[in-house]
């Protein structure tokens, strides 16, 4: 054969290919840039979200307080001198701080002006004084230095969340109040202090008094119920499906059903809880018990799917070895399969619980959306949960609740990230390599 006879398509000549290369490489670079841009967008969103929330929320961990020299005047608190607890509880404690404040501002003489002046201080201040006296009745008749909370409007101005330069009509603090505040600050009587109340109080109508403890405990109770139910049920289901289930249509149906259940919107579980647990079984509304039941049903598919994957990863040779020594199926599972799969199962459970901890919508359906001041004491007490508290505060009109909401979000995220980190640690530390 003559070598000359071998023809080459003009488009396949090396020169032609090289000529096209530049264009192809350009296209390659453009495509790669799109990919990087997509990842960059996702990362930026995350950073922006975090920066936004932290910048809005970090100030909530401090609260503005005003220094008072309070004389616990027996005339006001306990005119009879009997130290009767009921009398002590009903006294006019507001007068204790209002009188020195009025004395310091002699120019305030009308009722309207007085009211304006009083609005510098939180309406919870009287309760603070009352609590002090209740704890230590010997205070009566003595003088003490006390830091009372400023009102939320003042707090917002001090923290700079509300600009002083706005026109007076657009800000919650009047020019006169600003002047008084500046005056107090100049005397060193205004200070930002660590906001312990945020972690020890329940919800409140007053932003400066509001805390997350009640919601946090509600979440804890709910999660305890969820964990106690979803872990054993999830593991039982996974073990049954993976180790015992025959292959038939019924089992196929269960599998398809579990996969679908994992993708059912969470609010539908809330409707289920409302119709079945509340209306049919007459369980109490707003209770962590019911919240836990609903979240159990919601997290169950996640735990089952993760547990099955973990069980599947245990090599069959281990099962065979144990059977070969005369172990029964349950002994094989209890002694070998479950211990080997446990890290994976626990990881799945923690991730499922983290999802449940952040879930809000189903809890709204079963009434865990109430205004809860007292820390719930049990599984059937009315309660709310941390994400629901976030929802409630986000809905509140006061400017000061924005920072509380952001701070509550930060607390929630800390819990979630800690749980996820624990899951990653478990996976890395205990996962068996075969």
């Amino acid at each position: 054969m003559n070598k000359q006879a071998r023809t080459v398509h003009p488009a396949l000549h090396t020169q032609a290919v090289v000529a096209r290369l530049r264009k192809r490489h350009r296209r390659e670079r453009r495509f790669r840039a799109y990919c990087i841009a997509a990842v960059g967008f996702a990362v930026l969103c995350l950073i922006f979200l975090f920066v936004d929330i932290i910048s809005k929320g970090y100030t909530a961990f401090q609260q503005t307080a005003i220094r008072f020299e309070i004389f616990f005047d027996p005339e006001i608190i306990d005119p009879d001198g009997e130290r009767d607890a009921e009398m002590l509880a009903e006294a006019d404690y507001a007068a204790l701080w209002r009188q020195p404040l009025l004395r310091a501002h002699g120019e305030v003489n009308t009722r309207a002006l007085r009211r304006e002046l009083y609005r510098l201080v939180s309406s919870g201040a009287a309760f603070q004084l009352q609590r002090m006296v209740a704890n230590d009745p010997d205070l009566i008749g003595h003088k003490r230095t006390v830091w009372l909370l400023a009102s939320d409007e003042v707090d917002m101005v001090v923290k700079g969340h509300v600009s002083r330069h706005l026109p007076e009509a657009e800000r919650p603090v009047s020019d006169r109040q600003l002047a008084w505040l500046d005056n107090l600050a100049a005397q060193g009587l205004v200070e930002q202090q660590l906001n312990r109340r945020f972690f020890t109080n329940g919800d409140s109508r007053e932003p400066e008094e509001a805390g997350i403890l009640a919601a946090l405990m509600g979440s804890v109770y709910t999660m305890v119920v969820t964990l106690m139910l979803s872990f054993p049920l999830g593991v039982a289901t996974a073990v049954y499906l993976e180790e015992f289930a025959p292959t038939n249509r019924w089992i196929d149906l269960i599998e398809v059903n579990i996969n679908n259940l994992a993708a059912v919107p969470s609010i539908v579980f809330g409707l289920l809880g409302l119709a079945v647990f509340l209306n049919f079984f007459d369980l109490p509304r707003s209770a962590p018990l019911v919240g836990g039941l609903v979240l159990t049903l919601m997290t169950l598919p996640t735990i089952i799917i993760a547990s099955r994957a973990a069980l599947k990863a245990v090599p069959p040779s281990i099962r065979e070895a144990a059977y070969g020594l005369g172990a029964t199926p349950m002994q094989v599972i209890q002694h070998h399969v479950l211990p080997a799969a446990m890290p994976g199962i626990l990881t799945g459970t923690i991730i499922g619980l983290a999802q449940a901890l952040g879930e809000t919508a189903p809890l709204l359906m079963i009434g865990m959306v109430a205004f809860i001041v007292d820390v719930p004491q049990g599984f059937t007490d009315p309660a709310t949960a941390l994400p629901v508290q976030i929802f409630l505060w986000a809905d509140s009109p006061e400017r000061a609740f924005v920072e509380k909401t952001s701070a509550a979000i930060m607390v929630l995220l800390v819990f979630l990230i800690a749980m996820n980190a624990l899951a990653v640690y478990l996976r890395r530390r205990w996962e068996q390599r075969w």
Binding site: R32, A38, V39, D52, Y240, V264, I267, L272, A275, L300
Partner: protein, 460 residues
């Protein structure tokens, strides 16, 4: 509280029964466990299970049935004139009687009839509890006795115990099925009650949604309108906006992660996407309502556009951000499942990476990716908190993303949060919407899961 103590006592007795059975079996072979068919512990477990289970079943049944029984007894013992009251009033009365019996504060002054009923209530309750305790203890004792009598060296305790455990496992795995049945039945039942009041066709094809029925009949607008089209249209619009954000970003990110990124970049980026996926939706909702929506409104104003402060655009965009990691991790899995041989074959004829991705990998992975996107759409449709916090309440039938629209989930939440009378069309309409939502997402899920599964099997 007493019930919990009862259960704890039963469990303690069972623990004792375990030791009893174990020691009995050992004694039967004079302490040599090798002469037993099963391990000594299995004999103990056999006795303990027979001791605990029947008694616990009775306690559980009691806890479910007792309140109903007592309510029935209470109503039947009430004076005749009270029985003519409406069922809601009777419920309220019974509630008061129970509160009176528990010594709580009442919503009304107790009268002698109520006081008598409360006394009855307390006595029935006490009798019931006492008989429950006696029955439970008798059952556990006789169960343990019967079980122990069967113990002999050749008795195959291990198989009995294992069969029982297996039955429990099977029982546990039915919970998932029962959940589905519960969802379908409860939605269907309440929705049917709704369709008794509002014709189905009005709901399915009506174009006006204003569920505020008046409390008094003579008020204006007492009927309410339950046309669900604008609600579903709003859901569709917000989901569509979310998908236009999530699909391209998620897909390109997945391509980057699986085809371009080095192992190190990958292991750094994965946690970022996982965190994005793990942020609760209520946080996204807050972000959408307080940051994104005002920003979009201000931006629109500076461009001379009239943007609602609860625009569909803001809710949709933030929902899109929420769904990015969902799309990207599903697509990443799908791309990783494409066999390496395909990549090598494409590189082998001189293709660049992007050519390989676009012409070989994506077509090969298409069914899986489409399945993932369908799952993401189903998630967008069912997403609640973002729209509750950032989307509107009024049902506008519009195609303008700058206007406020409402969604199915928003309506369900607004209809059911707060105190509602349970029988009104307004409340029941939430279940009709829920049924629609469930069916819609179920269709997406079934199609999507089937596509993903088929795709997986193809390359296994």
């Amino acid at each position: 509280m007493i019930e919990i103590i009862l259960v704890a006592a039963l469990l303690c007795i069972s623990a004792l029964a375990y030791r009893w059975g174990r020691n009995y079996a050992l004694a039967a072979v004079s302490g040599n466990p090798r002469k037993l068919h099963s391990l000594p512990g299995h004999y103990g477990a056999y006795v303990a299970l027979w001791c605990a289970i029947p008694a616990l079943v009775v306690v559980a049944l009691w806890l479910i049935l007792e309140p109903r029984l007592i309510d029935y007894l209470l109503v039947s013992h009430l004076p005749d004139e009270i029985k003519t009251l409406s069922s809601a009033q009777i419920d309220l009365l019974i509630n008061d009687i129970k509160n009176l019996a528990d010594g709580n504060i009442l919503s009304r002054e107790p009268d002698p009839a109520m006081q008598a009923a409360a006394d009855h209530y307390n006595r029935w309750h006490d009798i019931g509890l006492a008989s429950l305790a006696i029955i439970a203890f008798l059952l556990s004792a006789s169960g343990a006795m019967c079980a122990r009598r069967r113990i002999a060296p050749r008795f195959e305790a291990i198989y009995k115990v294992e069969r029982l455990i297996k039955a429990f496992l099977l029982l546990g795995s039915t919970v998932a099925v029962l959940t589905t049945i519960g969802i379908v039945l409860s939605l269907l039942f309440e929705a049917l009650r709704f369709f008794n009041r509002v014709p189905f066709w009005d709901f399915a094809f009506g174009t006006e949604w204003s569920p505020q029925t008046a409390i008094r009949d003579d008020q204006v607008g007492s009927s309410g309108a339950f046309g669900s089209i604008p609600v579903f249209a709003g859901t569709a619009m917000i989901s569509a906006i979310a998908m236009t954000v999530a699909v391209p970003v998620g897909l390109f990110a997945a391509v980057f992660m699986s085809e371009y990124a080095s192992t190190r970049t990958r292991s750094a980026l994965k946690p970022v996407l996982e965190i994005l996926a793990g942020i609760p939706t209520v946080v996204y909702g807050f972000f959408a309502a307080l940051t994104v929506a005002p920003a979009i409104r201000d931006m629109g104003q500076s461009l001379g556009l009239d943007v609602a402060s609860e625009s569909a655009l803001a809710a949709g965009m933030v929902m899109g951000i929420m769904i990015i990691p969902f799309v990207s991790s599903l697509s990443d899995d799908v791309l990783n499942a494409v066999p390496n041989g395909l990549r090598e074959a494409s590189y082998g004829v001189g293709a660049t990476r992007s050519e390989t991705i676009l012409k070989v990998l994506l077509p090969a992975a298409l069914p899986g990716i489409v399945g993932g996107i369908l799952l993401a759409i189903s998630r967008a449709i069912g997403e609640t908190m973002i729209v509750v916090m950032a989307a509107g309440l009024a049902a506008n039938l519009t195609a303008n993303p700058f206007e406020a629209v409402t969604t199915v989930t928003v309506q369900i939440v607004t209809l059911l949060v707060g105190d509602q009378e349970f029988d009104s069309a307004k409340t029941l309409s939430a279940f009709a919407l829920g049924l629609g939502l469930f069916i819609l997402t179920l269709c997406f899920n079934i199609v999507a899961l089937r596509m993903v599964r088929k795709y997986r099997e193809q390359y296994e």
